[in-house]
Symmetry: C2
Subunit: 361 residues, 2 copies
């Protein structure tokens, strides 16, 4: 695939930007968006930046009926020196193509998407918030648009990128969250779509989430769909435990999402000299470690929340209060290091950040 030229149509009006202290997650969108179409005859074509606007689709468009869609989530930051930085964007585009593969969506050219993403951010640069905990959330997504009710891969798609200035993902900020272990509902199973970032996985998760929230928990911890005992991941985060001085996280088993934050966390922890073990870990095993006083920390990792310390886990009738319900040392150190690298304040020895260099329009 060759990189395509992106056309740009600037908006004639500018929306008012939100107050930085009023930012929620994913409610406000910037002045422009990126859009690119796919047809069988022309492949992916006509990449362009246009004013943020509604999209018009036939009611028979396949995405409404058969959910053939994938998405990504990453963030842009403004450094103190005024540089716009992206965190590992190539990983997201790589994962987008992996999701495409599982969902029978044609592969995208990574360079065109990265170029589109950079151009869009450059244009809407003034929307990047700078207050503590804020950033510009980037949402690339692909939807199937062919007007057809047969169950088959669509022959037409749209790829869009939209931008949203965001505050902390959890109302609690980087304070510890309470999480409920889910025993009734299942998110994904090996052979299913759990490793892909596709719409249906999130639709499937809402019911359990709703129940957990009504009981005062902010997310659920999913167990595997087969034996209902191995720990998988949280709603939109992978999970880590510090047990007896080792860091343990569920292995990539064919049903959990391979988080980019998860990957970064493993690199950092190993650089710091920790032993990190990716393995099958059962909820009973975790509970036994807790009972033995060996469960020292637990935290989730994901783009939206970065690091989210877990203060309490509820499993059946058990309430596991971890690290006295306080943010653990490792979670704090990881949060500060990753957000520091993301904002260009801490030396990036892994070459994770990419600068959105000035693009001439």
């Amino acid at each position: 695939m060759t990189k395509q030229t992106i056309s740009v149509q600037l908006s004639t009006t500018k929306k008012q930007k939100p107050q930085t202290d009023q930012l929620e997650f994913g409610r406000i969108f910037t002045d422009h968006m990126f859009i690119m179409d796919y047809s069988v005859e022309r492949g992916w074509h006509d990449p362009k930046i246009v004013p943020y606007q509604p999209i018009e689709m036939d009611p028979a468009a396949m995405v409404y009926h058969y959910g053939q869609s994938v998405f990504e989530g990453l963030k842009a930051y403004l450094s103190k020196e005024g540089k716009v930085l992206l965190f590992r964007p190539k990983k997201n585009i790589e994962r987008l193509n992996q999701s495409n593969n599982r969902l029978c969506i044609p592969q995208v050219d990574p360079d065109t998407v990265l170029e589109g993403l950079k151009t869009l951010i450059q244009i809407d640069k003034e929307w990047i918030p700078t207050a503590e905990g804020t950033s510009l959330y980037i949402r690339p997504f692909i939807i199937s648009t062919e007007p057809f009710l047969g169950v088959a891969p669509s022959k037409m798609y749209k790829l869009l990128i939209i931008l949203s200035p965001v505050g902390s993902y959890y109302k609690e900020g980087i304070h510890p969250v309470k999480i409920a272990v889910e025993s009734e509902f299942v998110r994904a199973v090996a052979g299913g779509t759990g490793t892909a970032k596709t719409a249906g996985n999130y639709a499937a998760s809402l019911k359990a989430q709703e129940v957990a929230e009504s009981l005062g928990f902010s997310q659920v911890l999913w167990l595997d769909g087969v034996e209902r005992k191995y720990i998988e991941e949280v709603g939109s985060m992978n999970i880590f435990f510090k047990i007896n001085d080792e860091i343990v996280t569920p292995a990539l088993n064919g049903s959990i999402l391979e988080g980019i934050t998860r990957n970064s966390v493993i690199y950092l922890l190993r650089q710091w000299g920790y032993s990190v073990i990716e393995k099958k870990i059962s909820i009973e095993e975790l509970f036994a470690a807790y009972e033995a006083g060996q469960l020292e920390e637990a935290f989730g990792t994901g783009t939206a929340a970065v690091i989210s310390p877990i203060g309490e886990l509820m499993w059946k009738e058990h309430h596991l209060v971890i690290n006295n319900g306080q943010t653990g040392k490792i979670a704090k150190q990881l949060y500060e290091t990753i957000t520091g690298i993301q904002k260009g304040a801490i030396q990036d020895s892994f070459d994770w950040t990419i600068e959105v260099d000035s693009i001439r329009l």
Copy 2:
């Protein structure tokens, strides 16, 4: 919930109707559609019939990202006497609400939806094709429309009904199809969304379907996601076997869809004196019956295809040729009876058909 008044805005132009012998499944849509909105403040409101037209939505509309959507499928027929008949529509609306429940979508008022459906069909009545094997396919569906990227149930929805004149679902018509037993991919698992008619289930099925088609099979037969040995269902059909004079079909186990055709078939077969058993049935058990010469018939049941005889099943290296690859006696009898009842040509002793009586506009 109380039934609401449906407003009607007729189209000023009429599209050309297709040739009856050129009908595919779900490619052509009629002149009008039904649409109704939901907001937290107003509940479901403003039910109306408008000209068939594209819908405009914010690119952040939740359905594109988190796939919160459900749908139904049923058919309208024109009897010889010119009556417009619907087959068990209340069952579909009941199932729509069951799907809504699983997907955290607010319940709809069944009477309003049924009224909308009848009014719409009455208006587009001339679109009902009459040739053998044709009908007017009805697709009610609900999509989440709130522009928000948090993973949570949407606070806004649209319910639409669109109509499509259709021919036979399978290119083969009511001729026997070849089906491949799927050993790698999984459609659904207990605790997941398999019992709901929601978009993500179909997105998850495409990959296996694509592989099967490339090998010359028209659909896959899914096995359970836990032990990977119990028979579940076909892409958009439930499945029945005649084994040793008994009719066997997988029990409703929490991961297969409760088909309305399945339910009708069970009633008819019992009325005809057959013993119908709903049970857990493993693929090994089926293969053993085949080897013993006891697998006499196999067929799928679903709204789109009605009854679809299975001439060959492939499982690993085994090719099970059933009834010499011919349509079986029971499949034929069921097809003729059900389509006969649907078209008002055969006495409907179960009160399954509802007449779309003339509605004054």
